[in-house]
Symmetry: C2
Subunit: 264 residues, 2 copies
C-alpha cells in the first residue's frame, strides 16, 4: 500500500525572532498541499524575557537549566506567544492550524531528564513510544495542521521544557508507520557545510561516516550537533527522508526537492 | 430526541491565582462524568507581569486596554502558562484535557471591538455565529475535554484579548443546539446576594426583573455586571440552565444540584 506523504517541518532560532521572516516562512509553509506538521523552537525570546525579569539563565551544552521560574517563562513564550502567533498567522493564510503542547490531549508525554551529575530541572526527554499517535492521526484526518511547541508533560501535572529538534524527530518516527514522512530541519544556512568557513561548500548528502569525519575535522559547530543526532535517529527509524534546509527556500524545496543536505 | 448533558464551566479570578485552590477545583472538575468544557480567565497574573515589565495597564469599566505589548502578555499568561498548567493538572487527574485559544482550529473568531470614543486595542468580541462548531463537536466525540483561554483571533493574523465570561456564554449558546447545556459561572461567592453586605443572603434564583431591582438598589458590584449580562444572554439563547456557584462547591453541585443562584 502506498502511504500518503506527510512533512514534519522544524523551525527555530533567528526565524522566530523576526516577525517578517516568520510570516514569509509561514506563507511558504501554508502552500504545502500534502499533510504537514510544524514544530517550533523558541529563539531568543525566552532568554530576553528572563533577562528583563532578572531570572538568571544557565546553559549547559546548549541546554537550558529549567527551574520553576524558567519553566514558567518558556511555557509562556513557547506555548503561548510564539505558538498562538504562528497559529493565527497560518489561519490568515487559510491553513487550519491548531497549536499544541505535549500536555494537550496527552499528545507527547516525556520523562524527566535523569540526573547524573547535572540536574536540568524541568527538562523532559521524549521517545516515539510516548506519542499519543491515535489522537494525532484523528487530527490529521480532520485536515488540521498541528503546530507543536516543545513543551511536554509527565501526566503527573508537571510541564517540561523539551528539545524541539527531538520533538520533531520523535513525531516523524512515530508517524512513519502511517505516512511517508519527510523531516525538514529548516535553519539559516543552505545545508551542512563541508568547510565551516565556506558557505558555498554545502554537502548534497551526509552519511554517518562523513559526519564522523566532519566531527574529527572540527567542521561542525556545537549548535548543529543535537540536530544531527536527532536527524540520524529519524533516518534510522523509518523516516523516509531527512533534510537540512534554508528556511527561505522551503517552497522551492517542496516543488523541486533539490535544496539542502539530505541525511543518508 | 433527548440531548446528552454538557457542562460549560467558567473559572477565573482568585482561583487561578492560588495553585492549591486551582488544583483542588480541577480535581472536582475531573470527576464530572458528563461531557464538559472549561473556560478560564486570567486572574492577577497578567497585571503582575505587566507591572514587573513596566508596561502600564489601563482598565476602563473592568476591561483592559490591550496594546501590542499587553496583548503579548495576556497571550503568554492566559494561552501559555495558565492554560497549559490547567491541562497538565487535568491530565494528572485522568481527564483528557486539550487546551485551546480561539485561533486553534479557528475555533472562535472574534470581531475587533468597534471604536466609539474608546479604542480598546486588541480586544475582540465574540458571538455564537463565529464558533467553529463542527470541529468542536468532533473533539467532543473524541472524548476530549476542551480547555479554553479567552484569547481569540480575526483570521487575519491578529490575536485578541477577549472576555472569558463572554467566551463561556457563547460556547454554551452554540453547543445548546446539540447538547443540554448547563453553564456554571464559578467564583468565590456562594451566589448572587440579595443584600451585598450579607453573605448569607444568597438568592436561590434571579430573573431579569429581580436583577433590575438589585441594580436600582445598588446591590450589585461592578465586577458581577458583565457576568450577569452574559448569563442572561445564555439563558435567553437556548442554554438549559445557568448557575452562579461557589468554586469550592462544584462537585457537590454536580451531585445534588442545590447550590448557588440559578438565572431564570
Amino acid at each position: 500500500m502506498n502511504k500518503q506523504k506527510l512533512y514534519v517541518v522544524k523551525i527555530g532560532g533567528s526565524l522566530i525572532d523576526s516577525e517578517s521572516k516568520l510570516k514569509s516562512f509561514l506563507k511558504q509553509f501554508s502552500t504545502i498541499s500534502e499533510m504537514k506538521i510544524l514544530v517550533h523552537g523558541g529563539g531568543k525570546l525566552a532568554s530576553d524575557l528572563a533577562e528583563t525579569l532578572n531570572i538568571p539563565q544557565q546553559m549547559i551544552d546548549g541546554r537550558r537549566i529549567t527551574n520553576r521560574e524558567t519553566l514558567d517563562i518558556v511555557t509562556m513564550v513557547y506555548a503561548g506567544k510564539i505558538n498562538k502567533n504562528i497559529v493565527a498567522n497560518l489561519q490568515n493564510f487559510n491553513c487550519n492550524a491548531i497549536g499544541f503542547s505535549g500536555a494537550d490531549g496527552n499528545l507527547i508525554k516525556a520523562e524527566k531528564r535523569s540526573i547524573s551529575n547535572i540536574d536540568y530541572g524541568f527538562v523532559g526527554d521524549v521517545d516515539s513510544k510516548n506519542v499519543n499517535i491515535d489522537l494525532l492521526l484523528e487530527f490529521l484526518k480532520l485536515k488540521l495542521v498541528p503546530v507543536f511547541s516543545a513543551i511536554t508533560h509527565d501526566r503527573k501535572g508537571n510541564l517540561f521544557n523539551t528539545n524541539a529538534d527531538s520533538v520533531a524527530s520523535v513525531l516523524a518516527q512515530t508517524l512513519s508507520d502511517f505516512y511517508e514522512v519527510e523531516l525538514l530541519y529548516c535553519f539559516d544556512k543552505n545545508g551542512i557545510l563541508e568547510d565551516i568557513e565556506n558557505s558555498n561548500s554545502v554537502l548534497k548528502s551526509l552519511n554517518f561516516e562523513k559526519y564522523e569525519q566532519l566531527l574529527i575535522d572540527n567542521q561542525l559547530n556545537a549548535g548543529i550537533l543535537p540536530k544531527l543526532k536527532n536527524a540520524f535517529a529519524a533516518k534510522q527509524n523509518k523516516v523516509k527522508k531527512v533534510v537540512f534546509l534554508n528556511e527561505t527556500k522551503l517552497e522551492n524545496y517542496i516543488n523541486h526537492q533539490n535544496d539542502g543536505t539530505e541525511i543518508k
